[in-house]
Point group: C2
Chain length 737, copies 2
């Protein structure tokens, strides 16, 4: 029985709990604590072990260190060549006069073990291992090699990044032992990046470089034999140089720890932006080939990210533009925008894209409109989104030159906007007379500084910001997003992140730590399932469990009106299929006959019959499906959907990890494509959403109470008629632990 | 009654039909024929009228002409200044010694009329008018000014672009009388661009410049007083310099002409890629403020574009990357891809994005796998998508340097792929030793040249292609798409375009030219509607129109089983609401009673009763909604949807303009989100889609036969039970013309 919540070793606030000294995983974790990683990622001396002048990787590492401005000691180690990279070598790490802070191991796979022995003997505590052919190869031999590598690291107390890893770039500390080229300049800044792919590093750095996205630490994770992605995320949450965390994920390896870290990052105000691949079957197949890790159900990953405020993106551009916004100091937290551009066409595009992102283009207040009318040319409309028109370009020497400034100032002062989206036209190179653009940028900076609301600058399309444009923006502390398209996507993410932060999810184990005693292994009888839910306060349609026809008739008469009869047995989960259900039965004779028929059908299937459940029939109303299942990675997951075609044809289901509260359930209901049905769209009474949310949260609590024994708890349907909410059918399945 | 199809003046093949000499719109159109526009856009002499040295616009035009390499005569015209732009002026166009090919009119609004008089007197046939304050101002005075401007242009035989327009850039003819800066170099190429926004021009050119997108002609349309967007599109279809047409549209002004042109472009093999704003309410409001043109129903615009193969995009980047692909000579026409990269992470992203775009990542054939195994490092997987791994970067001098070439050659030879998606890493600047990258690019070009299938190159992210990278690609005739994200979006568009081209839509008037005689003005009785459909071969549930109870009983007995009774009157369109329907009526007595009740309900509402329709009841089955309505812009539109929540809650409807054929209807059914219902997802018999398509096309034909009188024809529901398809309820509304 999967007990994924057991591996969480962060407490609710995301603090690192002391690992169990007898647990091998815990021993490995001791090598990758935030304290160890702070040391690991900031070496002041580095040995390059096994790289000669002819090694492309070695050359890349030396070049990257130079690009990063590394001023520490560089000690080439090679058994044969007397020099490497114009420096004298020593034949082995043991021959160093003093231990280095980090060994970058270029040695081939078969030689790595002996290099690590040398490292330990020389007092080296940290190593990057480049070699492949471990777990990455997908064969048993490689996996065994990797197991031994970890054992050795633990035994020698060596913190190890890799194997099959290119290293890292710590721009904040000016050190980049990294095995691919870095096109200078390396921009330092607030974004920490963790990549479960080495080759993407170049692409990430290349895009970041031309979009003013500064990096604190970037790591290529390789096989994560010792240091894992989660370890680096935990380090980044603690690292003052990092304000935003960007991830490229092929798999979420320890899901409960990941969600706990996500909650901790949220609490710390550090957004996590993740490009998690495997959204599709083809993507999962591809990632599997690279990682050997089976991807879980992507719908669960997606729900977990949404729940814990992890911003999920679909492209590298979206990843970096979003990180850039979140680290810019001008992050919107309300959905009402004022837009300032010099292009009507841009306004049109922005209006459509704003709607896509749930951003509202409000009407300007009368004072704003008046201020704009005073400066705009007569043919321009003083409205939101604002086009100050091309006169600001053509009439540079005239009174119109300040039009853009006046307009921006008027819009930031509008009392109805939560932020301003301001289009900048930035030159490729320094113009012959830079005073115009310099003055304009200075004015934007001054307006931003005095503004009550964030001012988010953007360019029209996603083109590179030239070195001149970046230096101009940097001098004034401004950031510009790469184009309307990615810019508004990033803004949508920022707003959702902020809203999640205002109503953070419950954190903690998804289920009770232990199962109540005496649970069956397998499905429960419906009567027993009903007792469980009733104990959690979940309202159920009344039902009487009867064992003879007379009692059935008495129950039916007591309920009044037509009744339903259902066979009750732990062995029969699909009652209708075997004829174990009779619906709309009226009058003593009919009840008696139906009882006999239902019971006979049950007996034909099994001897373990508890009896027959008699319930009053209910009029048609809105029906929900509510179920809790256990995801192999993320643990217990609550699913809520509308019945009928919504679930059967459209697979329209909202998911959340446990624990959930009624507020989370309320949001789930709002995510359903068929949400309008709950509002009464089909002529039914509008559902009392607070009541429904409370009941569904109660169902989740009942499931959680089953602890690690939980397999399935399902109510199908939960009948909703205004404020009347009742479970009509219950299925519980547990496994003995 | 709107008769939008009347204004089509292209025949089915998109040829320009001779305009009616008495029609004022036709008189204007004579100024903007492809012949006139060919002359208009390629002037060899240009007068700049009313611009002095202090005019920013004038300076921009002179600079743009220089950037475009204009070598013709430039004649400044100014009443006061003796020189302008270092050239001697003449005081008026009348003072020119010979007529110029084009006058660029900088004069203010009030002076334009007299300049055009001068132009006509001087024999100038073409003018660009920059001034605003015409229809763009939104006031009656401006609209009257614009009407007079058109009248003057027609009277003086002057082809006019604008007013409120920046001009155009004809890169193919090296002439760019354009009133904004163009950052050099201006790249010429196969893409013709028409923008209903002047300011976006700079953004479009800036992005095109760094993404290897070459322009033939780019125009800023302004108010379209004389030359319209459709005129330029028609010109581009005829223009050999143009292979792809890119549009930025705020409104589709003459929808039937636009769809006819789209069909003509498709027939000519020239894709149209359009960023049409107004997808959302906010976008429509914004565009309205800029254009004064009311946007139509965006769902109809979207359907029309899909139907006629116009590729609709959402961003400027998507517009230009898609145009770049379509003009690259390497356009995929099948959905099976082979992917070659040097990054596992890129493979993951590509796999997910391919699925989004309906691109299938097939398994490589055994021969391909074998060829790859022979060169790949042992730890790399010889699979699709292919990661040749970073060794090609690090081991440049080794045997691995040809790995990428061998891999690409193996994949283009795979018999199972329709195209290859090949990731290129291109340097920012010429490297110290350019031989490696030069050889690699030459090899890609050689492989592409000999390949059976298109090879689509792309970079990892949407960063600028440096001048060096572009010259490298250009020398080898290669094109690279800007990033995985936009690259795969563009490929998805190309595939859909190709598929539409294989099954082109019917072209022609949406309805008959004239209405049949004697149609009512308003709703029809259901019996009459049934007759119309029956005449078009649409199957209907049997029904007998009876006028007394005995006849009702006789009809019911003849049908056998329970029947439905419905009041039949042209005055009663919502029969149920007034109690005019009885369902599931069995036996003579019940029929008699129900007849009396239904008739009495009808009589309480109106005296114009045709009788009562008696029909057999049908068992529950899949229900479709089929309706034809008339869009004010696009004319008759067919809507098909599933009944119940699909249409009421999800608004899940597929639309097509008339005419449609059964093939189009079949595709409509596939577009429905609930399409699985027709496949039998809910336990019903799978629908015979051919039969359903044939019946729905018959409904559309019946509607079309009503000609300009058509207002609404609706079948709700059309009952579908396997191959049994029957209209159960019919509503027809016509207007007397």
């Amino acid at each position: 029985m999967a007990q994924p919540t057991r591996s969480v070793t962060l407490d609710a606030a995301g603090r690192h709990a002391p690992p169990d000294p007898l647990d091998p995983a815990a021993a490995r974790r001791r090598l990758a604590t935030p304290e160890r990683l702070r040391e690991f990622f900031a070496p002041r001396s580095i040995a390059l072990v096994g790289a000669s002048d002819s090694s492309g990787w070695g050359r890349f590492v030396v070049d990257s260190l130079r690009t990063a401005g590394f001023t520490g000691a560089l000690r080439p180690v090679h058994p044969k060549h007397p020099t490497a990279f114009d420096l004298p070598t020593v034949p082995s790490l043991r021959a160093l006069d003093a231990p280095v802070d980090l060994a970058y191991v270029f040695a081939p796979t078969h030689a790595v073990e002996s290099v690590l022995d040398d490292a330990a003997a020389a007092g080296v505590r940290n190593a990057v291992v480049l070699a492949s052919g471990y777990g990455d190869g997908g064969d048993a031999q490689g996996r065994e090699l990797e197991r031994r590598l970890v054992e050795q690291a633990v035994a020698r107390d060596i913190t190890l990044l890799g194997p099959n890893c290119l290293g890292f770039v710590n721009a904040a500390a000016s050190v980049a032992p990294f095995g691919l080229g870095i096109v200078p300049p390396l921009r330092r800044g607030p974004v920490g990046i963790v990549l479960q792919s080495g080759a993407l590093t170049s692409n990430v750095l290349a895009f970041a470089r031309v979009h003013q996205v500064g990096i604190s630490l970037l790591t290529s994770m390789g096989n994560e034999a010792v240091i894992t992605t989660a370890d680096v995320v935990e380090h980044l949450i603690a690292d003052d140089d990092c304000e935003v965390i960007g991830l490229f994920l092929e798999s979420v390896r320890d899901a409960p720890r990941f969600t706990a870290l996500a909650a901790a990052a949220m609490a710390a105000g550090k957004p996590i932006v993740a490009l998690k691949v495997g959204r599709t079957e083809a993507g999962q197949r591809t990632a599997l080939a690279h990682t050997g890790a089976l991807a879980g159900d992507d719908a669960v990953v997606d729900a977990a990210f949404r729940q814990y405020g992890v911003i999920r993106v679909k492209s590298l551009e979206e990843l970096l533009v979003t990180c850039g916004l979140m680290g810019s100091g001008q992050v919107p937290s309300g959905r009402r925008v004022g837009v300032v551009t010099a292009s009507g066409g841009a306004c049109d595009i922005i209006a459509d894209r704003s709607t896509d992102e749930g951003v509202e283009i409000v009407e300007f207040a009368p004072a704003t409109t008046a201020a704009l009318r005073a400066v705009l040319p007569p043919f321009a409309a003083a409205q939101n989104p604002l086009d100050v028109t091309g006169v600001i370009l053509a009439d540079r020497g005239s009174a119109q030159s300040a039009l853009g400034d006046v307009a921006l100032n008027a819009v930031v002062d509008d009392p109805g906007v939560d932020f301003v989206f301001n289009m900048l036209a930035l030159p490729q190179a320094e113009p012959p007379d830079p005073s115009v653009v310099e003055r304009r940028v200075a004015e934007v900076a001054a307006t931003t500084a005095r503004s009550r609301v964030p001012v988010v600058n953007f360019t029209a399309t996603c083109t590179d910001l030239s070195p001149y444009a970046q230096s101009l923006l940097d001098r004034h502390g401004l950031h510009a997003l790469g184009g309307i398209e990615f810019g508004l996507t990033a803004i949508g993410h920022a707003l959702t992140w902020h809203e999640t932060r205002l109503a953070p999810p419950a954190v903690g184990a998804g289920t009770a730590a232990t199962a109540p005693p005496g649970l069956p292994s397998g499905p429960w009888s419906e009567a027993r399932g009903r007792d469980l839910l009733a104990a959690s306060g979940v309202p159920l349609v009344p039902a009487e469990l009867v064992i003879d026809a007379d009692a059935a008739v008495a129950a039916a008469l007591a309920f009044g009106g037509p009744v339903a009869l259902k066979i009750c047995s732990a062995e029969i989960t699909h009652k209708s299929d075997i004829g174990g259900v009779a619906l709309g039965v009226s009058g003593a004779d009919e009840v008696r006959t139906a009882f006999g028929r239902v019971l006979a059908a049950g007996r034909a299937a099994t001897s373990a019959i508890d009896g027959v459940l008699v319930s009053p029939m209910r009029a048609p109303a809105t029906e929900l499906f509510v179920g809790v299942t256990v995801d192999p990675s993320f643990g217990p997951v609550l699913a809520v959907g509308l019945g009928g075609v919504f679930i059967e044809v459209l697979h329209d289901v909202a998911l959340r990890l446990l624990p959930v509260d009624p507020g989370q359930v309320r949001r789930m209901l709002g995510e359903l494509r068929g949400a309008a049905v709950l509002g009464g769209a089909r002529g039914t009474r509008p559902a009392d959403l607070d009541r429904v949310s409370e009941v569904v949260a109660g169902v989740a609590a009942a499931a959680a109470g089953l602890g690690p024994a939980l397999q399935t708890l399902e109510i199908n349907p939960l009948r909703v008629d205004g404020g009347d909410v009742e479970a009509l059918d219950v299925l519980v399945v547990t496994a003995s632990s």
